[in-house]
Every structure is written in C-alpha cells, then in structure tokens.
C-alpha cells in the first residue's frame, strides 16, 4: 500500500473551515491547538486562494529528526505519530516543522507548554486502538474503524483529499485533466521554459546532434 497523504485542491477550497471544525470536534482538541487550519492568500481580494494545512506526514520528517527523546515514529502507512508519554514538551519539533504542525496547548499555568499535539491522520497513537486512553491523548482512531480522516471526509467541496497516496493523486490528476489543464499547472513551463515554434526552449528540448557524432 502507498503512503497515506493529504492533498488540498486550492481551486475548490472555499475557506469554509469545515475541515477545521470536523477535526476539532472529532478529537476534542485542546484549547490553543489548531491541528488543521485554512490559510488564505490575498484574503478578501477576488482571486483569493485557500488551502487547508495540517501535518503533512513527511517521508523524511524534520520533527522526527530533531526530537531529543525520539518520541516520533512512522507507521507502515507512512503516518507520523508520537508518544505523548515520552514527549518532554521542549518545542524543538515545532521549530523544525515548516508547516507549524506540532503545537502546544495554552491552558497551562505560567506558560507551561505541556505535551505536543498534532494531526494524527486520525490514526490515534501508541495506545490500544479505540481505547479511552487513546482518545484522551490523541483523539479518535478512525483508520482502525475503516474510515479516513474526518477533515477529508467532511470537506464540503472535496477540496481536501486524504487517503492512499496513489489513489488520491489519481483523483486529483483526473480533476486536472477534466478541467482541461495539463502539466503547466505544476509550473513546468515556468521552470523549464515553454516550447515555441522552431525555437529551442531553455534547456527543455534536446538540440539536434551534429553529423558524424555517435548517438
């Protein structure tokens, strides 16, 4: 099986924050922690783009690399989880993460940080699946119930896709094709130049070989 991944289609995201609400409700997320949040560029201006951001469950997770107590682990499906009983709340993972996924509750006394909390891809944590202990620490384990993350399943426009990376990529690719787009949406033309009639593009098209040279 491929890794579990999230993809957010910014063409469809309407900033409804349904994913945020679904996650918060499903896992009883503590105050001050936003496991998932919607980021909007050019908010209020026509043409604004929104994208839902949470833990990206990186293949080479920087949070896992920097943790001084090695509380992170990756499951067989590629979901990055951590053990709150080992976590010392140092905050180093929060510094390392480029997406701001590891967060700390704000309900502690004297600014006490508490244990790190982040999106678990609705896969719970290292407690017995479906147990009360798992729910209190990590939230609901939907994967063990045969479901997918609440945020993706709740998305009103199906902008946020979550599941098997191969299948999700396939769904997204199908949408791009149906919209009549191609590789240009990935910035290929910007990076490598757009091929024009007869003229070689910047490094994209190979030059014809001179006569006498071996191929």
């Amino acid at each position: 099986m491929a890794r579990m991944k999230f993809v957010c289609d910014s063409e469809r995201c309407i900033e409804c924050n349904g994913c945020v609400t679904a996650c918060k409700a499903e896992h009883d997320v503590p105050w001050g922690v936003n496991r998932r949040r919607v980021v909007t560029l050019n908010d209020g201006i026509p043409g604004e783009k929104s994208i839902s951001v949470a833990c990206m469950h990186c293949s080479d997770a920087p949070c896992m690399a920097v943790c001084p107590v090695d509380c992170f682990y990756r499951t067989d499906e590629g979901v990055v989880l951590h053990d709150k009983d080992v976590c010392i709340g140092c905050g180093y993972c929060s510094y390392a993460c480029p997406f701001g996924a590891p967060q700390f509750p704000t309900n502690g006394q004297f600014g006490l940080r508490g244990k790190m909390d982040k999106c678990t891809f609705c896969a719970g944590g290292p407690e017995e699946n479906g147990s009360e202990a798992e729910f209190e620490k990590y939230g609901r384990n939907r994967l063990s119930e045969g479901k997918l993350p609440a945020c993706a399943e709740m998305c009103s426009t199906k902008a946020l896709l979550g599941g098997d990376g191969d299948v999700v990529a396939d769904i997204f690719r199908n949408r791009v094709l149906v919209r009549g787009k191609g590789s240009e949406v990935w910035g290929w033309g910007t990076a490598y130049g757009k091929p024009t009639q007869g003229a070689p593009s910047g490094g994209a098209a190979p030059q014809p070989k001179a006569e006498g040279t071996k191929s």
Binding site: D70, L161, G163
Partner: protein, 82 residues
Amino acid sequence: MRGRVGHVMLAVLAGLVLPGCAERPQSADGTARKSDQKAWHQPVNKSDVVKGWNSDDQASWEQQMRIRVQGQNEYSRAAAKP
C-alpha cells in the same frame, strides 16, 4: 606521608569510579516509547467500525481504504465529461 598519599589517591579513584555504578542509560534509542497496534487491528468496541473488512487482515483493510477514498471522488459517481 606515603600512606596518606595512597589513601588520598584511593579516595579519588573511588570518587571517579563509584558514581558510574548508578548511572542510567541515557541513549535515545526509541525503546522508551510504547509500540503501536496496526491500523488494521479493529478496536474492541465494534459499534463504530465500518462493515466489510476483517480485523487483523491487512489486505482487507487496504481494500476498504481504497473503496472509501472513492467517496471523495464525485467523478466515480457521475460520468466525467471528457
């Protein structure tokens, strides 16, 4: 004097060696964290578990995941315009 030097050296040596006896290992080798159950191990309380797949059967769970993700794809429910 000689005996005294010997005693002092013995005390210093003891001071260096004995604290090491009570040291706990501090390597971060990942053994502190608990092991996690697999995602395809169903919870004891089956009331919220989706029907159609078997507990501890990885292939059956993966199949369920693939079916479930199509619920996010409306093109599989309605014919996509080419």
